[in-house]
Symmetry: none
Subunit: 131 residues, 4 copies
């Protein structure tokens, strides 16, 4: 089960990485059942990305894969067109990463938004590595 200290460590590591990249982001951490555990919005992060960060984390938690891996199932020509409309709308671009314990069990997910998708994914990986 994801602890608050793990969630806070993930957010701190993500914010450190974001500062290195020079971007201001929102970082959301959800538990394995997609309930909010911790959240932080860096100063200057754009407001519209609050919901995107939450959505990326929710997407990664609900399916246990990265947010962009969900897109591989539903992008044009893929076998699950429309999957992105499930669960109230998924966020299907980089920045959502599942969190797993050493045995591979799902602990939750982190979602990052505010930079470019490439930056967001970089920051999310840094956050996940701290758990």
């Amino acid at each position: 089960m994801l602890s608050l200290s793990q969630a806070q460590a993930a957010i701190a590591a993500g914010q450190t990485r974001a500062a290195v990249l020079g971007v201001s982001v929102n970082i959301a951490v959800l538990d394995a059942a997609a309930h909010l555990k911790a959240f932080g919005r860096m100063d200057e992060a754009v407001l519209g990305s609050i919901d995107v960060a939450l959505g990326k984390a929710r997407t990664a938690a609900l399916f246990g894969i990265t947010s962009e891996a969900v897109w591989d199932y539903c992008k044009p020509g893929a076998p699950a067109p429309g999957l992105e409309r499930s669960n109230g709308g998924l966020m299907t671009f980089p920045g959502g990463v599942p969190l797993r314990d050493p045995e591979g069990r799902l602990l939750g997910a982190v979602g990052v938004s505010g930079g470019s998708p490439v930056q967001d994914a970089d920051i999310a990986q840094a956050a996940a590595a701290a758990v």
Copy 2:
């Protein structure tokens, strides 16, 4: 009219088929008016597929055709672009199958999610055959 025992038989048959395929799925059965009749989530089924199973069943019940047949109406180049956004959002990939009585009257629909779309459709057909 779809009975509870029919719905339960559909779910049991679907779960048996899923076990043969080695996947854990959610199976939803709705009546002909798209109201929930019965549901079962197999242990280990991914949480994100609960809503997908319900959505596939709802799509099949509302239009009386399989979920992927709805996609044929709204996919790129088809005559009804945007149909997938009706009814609060349809699930337009395999796994939703209408249930009909021996005279062909619509009884409801079953929706399966948790495996690949091909597996989900296979399981849904097994479930439908038990009604």
Copy 3:
């Protein structure tokens, strides 16, 4: 963690009790994070009570107490007026019961609707006792 067989046993026990009482009900079983695990609607159960059964189970799962115990917090004169509007709307009358393992850990909740509140609570208790 609540298993499918436990959830099915709860629904079967509830349906048996409902038959003894001579009422047709909806029975919903959610896991400890309030995600749907299993559901059954008895033939003749009123459609409006599908959502009520789900809502009672969700209320009991989210707060770990019976649905009517939530009402004790928010009824007129109680210390938490408006709590019932949280979480998209709670169902605060009898019929929602938390499920716990022998050590007292929350496993999920069962929600019953279709009879009188007294009958619903009776059936929910019978369902919970089977877990």
Copy 4:
């Protein structure tokens, strides 16, 4: 303008106070426009109180008064019956406190849920005092 470091200080102070009281709570901090700034759920906090903490903070931020002061406007016999249904539903019991700078300008609000309303308000005041 509320900074992330102020929001984090509020949450840390609230968590410290909650530990003294022996309760596990959710603490939400919103900015003056009611957008999420930071959030933390203590281990063991009840899931249903995530939304309540967010709702109390939103209520306090939107009106610039405590969540229970909003109730004074809409409780039975008060001049604004139904106000509690505005803004998607307000949380109108103790635990939401506005945050102000030394000149009295609104910076945002903190919302706490998980203990009794009296405990939640105590924790929220401790959190607000740290800003």
